[in-house]
Amino acid sequence: MKFLEKLLAVDRRIIFLFIAIAVALPLFFVVKLHIEVTPVVRNLHNALEALPPGSKVLVSLDYDPGSMPELQPMAESFFRYCFNRDLKVIIMGLWPNGPIQANVALEVVLKEPEIMKKNLKYGIDYVNLGYTAGNEVVIERMGSDIPVTFPKDYSGNKTEDLPLMKGVMNFNNIDFVYNLSAGYPGTVEWVLFAVDPYKVKLGAGNTAVQAPQIYPYLNSGQLVGLLGGMKGGAEFEIATGYPAKAVRYMFSQSVAHAVICLFILLGNFAYFATRKKKGS
């Protein structure tokens, strides 16, 4: 019983240390875990597979470096998939850092040998329209006029001069929208202002914090698929046949979760056991 009481009163710094080891140690090992692709990710993948080559995909990166570990692998795997399938990518952001994160991801993906073979050109195969202030009003405006909403791209080029943007007036000229979101504005705003009014096909990748809020939109069909947290990112990498960062991190994630579950069980056991003892 003394042990259980000591366990309840354990210094939280000991717990921090255990978590740090549980997270850090697995990073030294390369362990292939079996990752099952869940239906919500499979649906997103299937929707993308149905797009013919040359389709225009709008990618909205609505996050900042604080959410990089979860969302950056999703961005990289999505760009890799699009370039491999000859889909045209139009990048934008509702957060100021979003387009910068996109460039960081593009830097990684465009250096890969298979992608380099494609000899992709900025302005023809992909563009970065940058950030514009206005949150959900930006989405509303894009429903009627994208060139007016983004008169210049991230580098200052006129949007109307970019070959990829010729004929792209509004959501009618976009075949699929993919949103990576860490909060507001994000997936919720895309559903409210793009999906229901303009019948846009939307897929999303969210931080695990936000994912539970987005599930109702999946059930109602407003969202075709969802990547929830790093696990969702890992599933997408598996589905596309290119396991990368997210898959690598899964071992660390699993060990950390196992340690937390152990602490929860121990803590609850100790709590109820000591309470029972005090009661009797």
């Binding site: 604080g66 004929g167 007036m169």
Partner: protein, 401 residues
């Protein structure tokens, strides 16, 4: 040996003569056109601004059936039945609808003129051939004044507006509008009393929202009441803010609370201050305040994001009693786990109406309750109808936007 070789030669020659025509036949089969799409109809797209025509057709018999070689449909348009047809779009096999849309500006290259006759035909395509349907038309696009599909939205908006205005009117007339007691609110007085006994300050966090956010507005109403109580108890209240506008509103709110308590001299403006507008920088500073000031009671009421658990954890380490409330669903679990009392979601708005007793807040709350009651009845009836396949009722809830 010679006979054997001759036999082999004859067999091979026979097969060559057999395979050649077969391959030619197969090649011809490959190039055979698919069955034509039938029942092609073209008409104005309903509920739009008059720059679109919808084309529908019956799938080719070779689409998903028969030879199963149809890969796509092309939709062609002309201004006369015998004129030149141009391709307007393409849909994959299995689809039998296409919306021919264009721009509304005359200067635009893709301008779609309304009130203008167009003729359509649909082309079923395989990898090597195609077949075309009969010409359908004339079809004319025209705009509608009212989007029939949005009728439920219109009715819902009107109904809710009437309910809100009615209840606000009743509240203003002095009618008693009942709001059930909330557990978190009952704890507020005890929490303030605790701070007074311990001689330690109270920390009030308005959250990360702006002055236009409902949660922040609700929190400011509660701050007014708490400020009044702290003035009565002569307890210090610290209100660090993330938004400069919210800070100035908070200063006025706290000042008004001190005035109501009859202690305007005790009001100290420097206790309500701005830190930074960056999320985690703000949290880092607030954590520092909690530990240095050793606050006895922490209130987290408003809009919170990822920092909620960091705040609640630090408050717990500092030994403060914590009362929280937010409408951010993702953060409620943290507050429930790490704070002593939590106002879940709408309870925050109810708390501000309960404490403030303002007609606007009370009226809005009662209207929401009525709307909830309608939703609950609809759910119950709808589930019953769905279980017995009563489609007419289900169609009432079909919403278009």
């Amino acid at each position: 040996m010679r006979k054997k070789n001759l036999k082999i030669f004859l067999i091979l020659t026979f097969f060559c003569f057999l395979i050649l025509p077969l391959s030619q036949i197969l090649a011809q089969v490959d190039t055979l056109p698919p069955a034509t799409p039938t029942e092609v109809r073209a008409g104005d797209t309903p509920n739009d601004n008059g720059h679109s025509i919808t084309v529908t057709w019956k799938l080719s018999a070779d689409d998903g059936a028969g030879r199963k070689d149809v890969v796509a449909y092309e939709i062609l348009r002309s201004e006369s039945p015998a004129g030149e047809f141009v391709v307007r779009g393409m849909v994959p096999a299995g689809n039998n609808t296409y919306q021919d849309r264009g721009a509304k500006e005359k200067e635009d290259k893709n301008y779609f003129p309304p009130h203008h006759d167009f003729y359509y035909k649909v082309r079923a395509k395989t990898l090597k051939s195609y077949s075309e349907s009969e010409v359908a038309g004339p079809a004319t696009a025209y705009g509608q004044w009212f989007h029939i599909g949005k009728l439920p939205v219109f009715v819902g908006t009107l109904a809710f507006t009437i309910m809100v205005l009615t209840f606000i009117g009743l509240a203003r007339k002095g009618k008693e509008l009942y709001v059930r007691p909330l557990a978190g609110i009952d704890a507020v007085d005890d929490a303030i009393g605790r701070a007074t006994e311990m001689g330690r300050p109270i920390l009030y966090i308005l959250g990360l929202g702006t002055a236009a956010d409902i949660a922040t507005i609700a929190s400011l109403t509660i701050l007014n009441r708490i400020a009044k109580k702290t003035a009565e108890h002569k307890t210090k209240i610290i209100v660090p803010c993330m938004d400069p506008i919210v800070m100035s509103v908070a200063q006025e709110t706290v000042k008004a609370g001190y005035l109501d308590a009859g202690r305007p001299d005790m009001y100290q403006e420097e206790n309500i201050f701005y830190i930074t507008s960056m999320q985690f920088a703000y949290v880092a500073a607030v954590n520092g305040i909690m530990l240095r000031e050793k606050t006895a009671t922490n209130f987290y009421l408003g809009k919170f994001y990822a920092e909620s658990l960091i705040l609640a954890e630090t408050g717990s380490v500092a030994g403060s009693i914590q009362i929280s409330g937010t409408d951010e669903i993702a953060q409620i679990p943290f507050f429930v786990a790490a704070t002593d009392f939590t106002l879940i979601g709408e309870e925050l708005y109810a708390a501000s109406a309960y404490l403030g007793r303002e007609p606007l807040l009370l009226g809005a709350l009662k209207a929401q309750d009525l709307a909830k009651a309608i939703v609950m009845i609809s759910l119950a009836l709808g589930a019953f109808a769905a279980s017995f396949h009563l489609d007419f009722f289900l169609r009432l809830f079909s919403v278009q936007m």
